[in-house]
Amino acid sequence: MKKRGLLIIALAMLVLVTPLFAQGGKEAAASPTTLSIAIRTLTNPYQANYKVGADMLGELEGLPVVTLTCEGSSEKQLNDVRALVAKTNGNVVFMIDPNESPNVIPLARELDAAGVYWVSWWNKPEDVKVWDYKNWVSHISFDGISAGEFTAETLFKSFGYEGKIIALQGLLSNSIAQDRFVGLQNILKKHPKVQMVAFEAADWDRTIAYEKTRNMLVAHPDIKGIWAANDNMALGALEALRAVGRAGQVLVTGVDGTTEIYEAIKKGEAAATVYNDSTYQAGIGLAIALAAKNGELDVAKMPKDQRQFFAEATNVDINNVDEIMKGASSYDFENLFASFSRPMN
């Protein structure tokens, strides 16, 4: 019994340890650079559009594209990135939407060590600076606070800046969720007659948003508007309003810019959203990283404004929704910093 156990351990160890001392099988050095995006999931249209953008650039450049999804596990994201670096022997560039903001630290250290260029979107702790790392080309984000401010402002305008609202937050621990909520609170301060009577966290999820809104509507039947931190939750809230027959009377707002919310805006059921073009995000992110890899960008000499900055997002309301819905006819991945809006400290 004992011997067999030891034998089994020895075998298992052997299987795993042998390759440690073997030289890695080098793939042909001439193979093309892989473009890779590491994102959260494909179960959400916003995230799924990342893949569209990456594929678009891949086709343009004639390079292979790999999509990595972590399904909410930071550790999986890190390991998937590692696995791909291993697979391509470092001949890869990344666009990464970190699962949680602090994850950029291990990613930055890992990719610095491997000499792989990458660009991050959205999440980064404030005290982590891109210029401390040599292979982290840029960090780009949309301004969550200003998005929250725009949607709140538009929502309040719809009912004349006087009345009660309720709010739906995203996943509590998520910094984007918190930024957008800060935006809402800023506008609330500006309009003292608007009162936020209740808020709940609905984890970016449409079903949860529906249920929480139904419950909140019981306690506060007299609200004038519902602010939500993304479109998904806004649409859940909208269906909840429909269930109590108040869709259209009480408006909702979201962020992301999905077709569904545009239609709601057109029908007069939603007030506003902010369009973050994830197709462009993926494409331009990879383009920047690729430029660094190909030597077109000298990372060490890039100005700080290009290393981390806020990108222009499109505020959408009833005035421009038709135009936005037509969609971008084509994407320009040549002009790398065209979307620059303001620097990030």
Binding site: T41, T43, A48, D205, E211, R214, E239, A243, G245
Partner: protein, 342 residues
């Protein structure tokens, strides 16, 4: 043979026997879900005090009933497998795949399909087939259901993502949502639907051979087999039936939100399991039934409703849920019926 039980069990059972001796005790024991009713009462009492009676306002009660419909249907589905003594974690995967199928087959803005009312048998068929596979894996391949259904859940969720390409599919057929929203005599129709399903299952459990045999398997599979119960066939049919009901729930979820996506399956399993446990269905099998599932779901939904009404900080809600789950089970669990607590 009380003496055979271990020490702390004896204390409880003496207490119990004292309680049962009284007239109130007799009434308590004559109703199978009396413990759960008391729990619900306590929840209602706390929340009505906390919300100045708003909790017990008729509009809120109707909201709770309306919201409890879909979780109730899911709980009614999963509790069947639990009565068998097995476990079904495939709920989220099956709901995802049926939700996506419903979204793609009904009139929608992505494809040109429009199957209309045929969708009802179609989702039930899809769910039923998935459930059948669960049953076959458990009986024919002799895999523990906990893990085989977990694998199934992952598999089906992946398939749902693949066929929907991860996006949500807005519906263009509003009939289903109208049914969901509508009321009958002031009661949400969808709740009546769930109760009807509960009634059907109750009758099945108590009045048909399938139901009786299901309990026999939950009590002791080997003995049931000896007595001539066709264990495999019944397990497979219950898994299949459960899958069919998941399919129905998937369709209702889609109808309620007027769009469909794979992720609608997320976050449904643990609430359903909580409802099963709070309702008093023994996780070791053979004890409890449709009534328990119904009351368990209402308790869980009322709890979530109350937390929102009372403006409990969202950060604290999972803790409150956890504490209530543990204490509700602590109060209502019949330790004599369950035997060894694992």
């Amino acid at each position: 043979m009380k003496t055979k039980n271990s020490r702390s069990l004896e204390n409880i059972s003496t207490l119990r026997s004292k309680v049962s001796a009284s007239a109130v005790g007799k009434l308590y024991h004559s109703i199978p879900i009396s413990g759960q009713i008391i729990s619900l009462g306590i929840v209602a009492l706390i929340f009505s005090l906390g919300t100045n009676g708003q909790f017990l306002h008729i509009s809120n009660i109707m909201t709770v009933l309306g919201l409890s419909a879909i979780p109730m249907i899911l709980c009614l589905a999963v509790h069947q497998v639990i009565i068998l003594g097995a476990m079904d974690l495939s709920l989220e995967g099956i709901v995802a795949i049926t939700a996506v199928s419903a979204g793609l087959l009904l009139k929608n803005s992505v494809t040109a399909n429009d199957v209309g009312l045929w969708i009802i048998p179609i989702v039930m068929l899809i769910g039923g087939l998935a459930g059948l596979v669960n049953g076959l894996l458990n009986t024919k391949l002799r895999m523990p259901s906990f893990i085989s259904t977990l694998g199934m859940s992952w598999t089906l969720f992946g398939v749902a993502i693949m066929i929907s390409k991860g996006s949500s599919i807005p519906l263009r057929d509003l009939r289903f949502q109208k049914v969901i929203i509508s009321e009958f005599l002031g009661i949400p129709t969808v709740f009546i639907l769930a109760i009807l399903l509960g009634l059907v299952l109750y009758i099945m459990q108590n009045k048909t051979k399938l139901g009786k045999h299901m309990y026999a398997i939950g009590g002791n599979e080997i003995l049931a087999k000896q007595a001539g119960v066709k264990v495999d066939r019944i397990k497979i049919s219950i898994f299949g039936l459960t899958g069919m009901i998941y399919g129905l729930a998937g369709l209702l979820l889609v109808a309620r939100l007027n769009s469909s996506a794979a992720r609608y399956g997320n976050n449904l399993l643990f609430p359903a399991m909580t409802a099963v446990a709070v309702g008093g269905v023994s996780l070791s099998g053979g004890v409890g039934g449709a009534l328990n599932a119904v009351i368990g779901t209402i308790i869980v939904v009322a709890l979530n409703n109350g937390l929102v009404l009372m403006q409990i900080n969202p950060y604290m809600q999972s803790a409150v849920n956890g504490i209530v789950l543990i204490s509700a089970v602590a109060l209502t669990i019949d330790r004599n019926k369950i035997g060894i607590i694992k």
